[in-house]
């Protein structure tokens, strides 16, 4: 960019190793970027004896995260960054109010050819990869596209009294509960898949984690969150790949 950027010192939460590895694949850190959104977590009543998704809450939890993410992307845009690495999403809850915050380090291609790392619409990429993982991915022939989400807030049906009598003192599976938890996780996973596809990723998603959370709801209401980094293959003949992996046995116990 300009000379102003050259004298402006960068800020980042990267370790020395991460910084060196980023430099090695031609990226430089620009600035720590932050995003935050405040939401009131409401409650929607669900039928006592029914397994069902609580759509309002699912949408709200997704929107809150997307708002924080969008702010980060806006800041990265303003800095002229090509992407954000090491992004973390956190939720802090105080009663019915919750703060959704996102933090990461904006990075830019030194050579100025960052366009090939941006998505189809020219927006900066986002990912939760550490510097080392980012290096490994890029040298392995892939680029991160976006940090993708899938959310499902689900109400698990209560057991009926008859059902309780039937199962008391016996070994048996509880099909209603199994079905509910299974459904909710699958929905969250299907959505993270869809989010990746709409972000324009063509290979897949790495590092997907399915987390369960309660945010002051009734104990039968659970949020399932699937998060991961969507990746695409780098189509470039000149792209430098790393050497094939070699076995290294550590002589140290850890």
């Amino acid at each position: 960019m300009s000379a102003a950027a050259a004298v402006h010192p960068f800020t980042s939460d990267l370790t020395i190793d991460e910084l060196l590895l980023l430099e090695d694949v031609g990226f430089e850190p620009l600035e720590l970027v932050l995003g935050a959104s405040y939401f009131h977590i409401g409650y929607q009543s669900a039928s006592y004896a029914q397994n069902q998704e609580i759509l309002d809450l699912s949408e709200m939890m997704l929107l809150a995260r997307q708002t924080a993410m969008a702010q980060i992307q806006g800041q990265a845009e303003a800095l002229g960054a090509d992407g954000v690495v090491g992004m973390r999403l956190e939720i802090e809850r105080e009663g019915h109010h919750a703060e959704f915050s996102a933090i990461g380090t904006a990075v830019r291609r030194r050579a100025g050819d960052g366009a090939k790392f941006r998505d189809q619409r020219g927006r900066a990429f986002t990912c939760d990869l550490s510097g080392a993982d980012f290096w490994g991915l890029v040298r392995g022939g892939f680029r991160p596209v976006a940090l993708v989400h899938g959310v499902c807030v689900y109400h698990v049906a209560h057991q009926t009294l008859g059902g309780w009598f039937n199962s008391a003192g016996k070994n048996c599976e509880m099909p209603t509960f199994t079905q509910a938890m299974y459904d909710a996780r699958e929905l969250a996973l299907a959505r993270v898949q869809r989010d990746a596809a709409s972000a324009g990723a063509d290979s897949g998603i790495v590092g997907v984690e399915v987390r369960e959370g309660h945010y002051g709801w009734h104990s039968h209401v659970i949020e399932f969150l699937a998060v991961g980094t969507a990746v695409s293959a780098i189509v470039d003949e000149a792209h430098e790949l790393h050497a094939p992996a070699r076995t290294v046995l550590s002589a140290r116990d850890d």
Binding site: D17, L129, D133, F134, G136, L137, G140, V156, H158, Q159, S167, G169, K170, N171, C172, E173, M174, P175, T176, F177, T178, Q179, M181, Y182, D183, R185, E186, L187, L189, A190, V192, Q193, R194, A196, A197, A201, D202, S203, G204, I205, V206, G207, V208, E209, V210, E212, S219, H220, G228, P244, A245, R246, T247, V248, L249, A251
Partner: protein, 277 residues
Amino acid sequence: MSQGTPQRPQTQRQALPQHAVERIQRSRNAQGQRFFTSDLSVKEFLLIRESGFECAGLVMGSSFYHVGYQRSDWSQNQEMTVLTQAMYQARELAMARMEEEAHELGSDGVIGVRLHVNRHSWGEDLIEFVAVGTAVYARDGSNWRAPSGMPFTSDLSGQDFWMLLKSGYRPISLVMGNCVYHVAHQSLRGWFKSVSQNQEMPNFTQALYDARELAMERLQYEAQLDGATGVVGTQIHESSHGWDAHVIEFFAIGTSVSPIAMKEAPPAPVLVMTVNE
């Protein structure tokens, strides 16, 4: 089968819930191109590709189980067979569903399988078992499935999987064995005899010894059924799962392996000094 080995529950092929089927169908686009989801780290992802495999998708299975009741004799060392069966059956169900998802995805196997035990505040006797892993398939189309015809399963990380293949072995299945044991309480007389003295407590030693051996024996039995040559990475977990303090579950889990024909000799170790702390 030796005495005391419970019959391995015959787990039938499991039907998948509708949302699971939909998700699996959506992992291929209209052109039949695959799109994977995986919980592998970047390093694992790259190593899987280096060993000639590709990710097919994240697979999982779940089972919510009501654990029955069994009375234990206060002063008796004994296995709690009702609890043992419940804990085993529920894990098998979760695993079988996960395998079914992997089968539906058309994969050769599942790596990095983790088994979680969850408890919810809905009932004291309810336990949820979840099995999660990443399904993979061989790029060259070769068949890596277990002798049973289902995808292989293993709890190995991507790094371990790569190393195992390099050294001439392949995973067959995730094998497990468990034993829920009631450890007898000490009698009052025994307490008087041992107070202020250094001595072994043969009663307790024997109970814990027995329980661990039973869990290990069952794990070994499963591996033999699979026709494996051995089991790697066996871990034994102990947990009371919120039962009475004298009731403990010993749970052994590992990956059964068998040798494969090797194209090249296994790599020799190299001395590497890392600059990391």
